[in-house]
Symmetry: C2
Subunit: 242 residues, 2 copies
């Protein structure tokens, strides 16, 4: 946590990037706007010379990048994550423009770690990845050709984050402490187990109901205390059944 | 002139671009935001396979691109041109942020052709090129590393232009008709000739005075009528001297 520069508390997460050149260009885009925390989930090729070349003066961002196997790992320690898309058809959850999302992310980043998540160049974010994020954000674009290059999309969001710093101030003293994403994830898993054990969810056809539960938990932006209460409740349900 | 979509009246001018890949990426950046008029001044390599590859679905923008020898040629027919830079030290003339410049450009583009001018990747715009533009615009960036890739800078300006369309409306009926840039240029040249002939400017050391005159004319954003008046005045001065 950096208490003086909220931009340092914002992770850029590239999920399954295909082209190392895009990774390097994204690192450069980040650094030009003052971001430096790059995370990658299963990059196809990294490290790679193309990444170094396109990073130009931002190779330090590549050198400090974190690579993980799952998006959940990359989000560990964050309290808020924005999924990005240029395709409106993907939109679910709450949706925002890039400008609105930047303002929200920056506001949170004064006191917490947050993440901005980009999908694969061709396929975007898959449903599971998206379900781990709290809101969707899209870049307004030409409806006839909305295919932004990955690094170009990173550049726009990074730029909007920097622009947001000019008007943003720390929130008034937080009234509550938001739960970390991994704690919300454990709560979700607990719900899933308990709902199956109780017979409420059919484990052979759980999909739709559990997906809606996940969406609800993501949207709700739970406090730590609320997670604890709900998990306590689930434990009591588990105990009663035995 | 396109009377329904002001974005079509905005030229993106790349001055002496070094890397064809950047040209292609700039074309893609433009098209994602609804821009399609690409102009280039002395590109080092164009056409080029790297440009086609990086343009992706925007090769039509490359195919319709106009190539010229001088920036003045690329600006022909425009009434307003914005010079871009990420380096504050270059700033002269009136300066704006990218967001402000986009709003101004779009406002003008409802009724006129306008241009957004980018310099060479390494050296930016030279003094003469800059002097042909009316205002400077810069992208707010990390002061420790403000080195945006050329196509990334095009992407941000194009994005701001598209964002500006959401709030922009045609200006109230224009109160005057702005002069085309080439007419202002001819006026400047006329001033120069007349000032030298009259002895006001020493042709061996004209630099500073003429540079200031050029800046003044660029900043003033002359109307057609004003250009005609000034040229009429200069002609009368020329006649008197003979």
């Amino acid at each position: 946590m950096n208490n003086t520069d909220p931009l340092k508390n914002i992770r850029v997460v590239l999920t399954r990037p295909s082209h190392p050149g895009n990774i390097g260009a994204a690192a450069r885009a980040m650094k030009t706007m003052g971001l430096d925390a790059l995370y990658m989930v299963q990059p196809r090729e990294f490290p790679h010379n193309d990444a170094d070349v396109r990073a130009s003066g931002a190779r330090d961002v590549l050198q400090n990048a974190q690579v993980s196997d799952t998006l959940a790992d990359a989000l560990r320690g964050c309290v808020f994550a924005v999924a990005t898309s240029s395709r409106r058809r993907e939109l679910r959850h709450e949706t925002m423009t890039a400008r609105q999302a930047a303002q929200t992310l920056l506001q949170e980043a004064h006191a917490h770690r947050v993440a901005l998540v980009f999908g694969n160049e061709t396929s975007g974010l898959n449903g599971h990845e998206a379900s781990l994020c709290n809101v969707w954000a899209h870049i307004p674009a030409n409806p006839q050709y909305a295919s932004l290059n990955l690094a170009a999309a990173v550049q726009i969001f990074a730029y909007e984050l920097r622009m947001a710093t000019e008007t943003s101030a720390p929130a008034s003293p937080p009234e509550f402490e938001p739960a970390a994403m991994e704690d919300v994830e454990r709560l979700y898993e607990h719900f899933e187990r308990t709902m199956i054990a109780s017979g409420f969810v059919d484990p052979r056809q759980p999909k739709r109901l559990l997906a809606r539960l996940r969406r609800l938990l993501a949207r709700a932006r739970l406090e730590i205390e609320e997670v604890n209460i709900l998990r306590g409740f689930l434990k009591s349900v588990d105990r009663d059944r035995r």
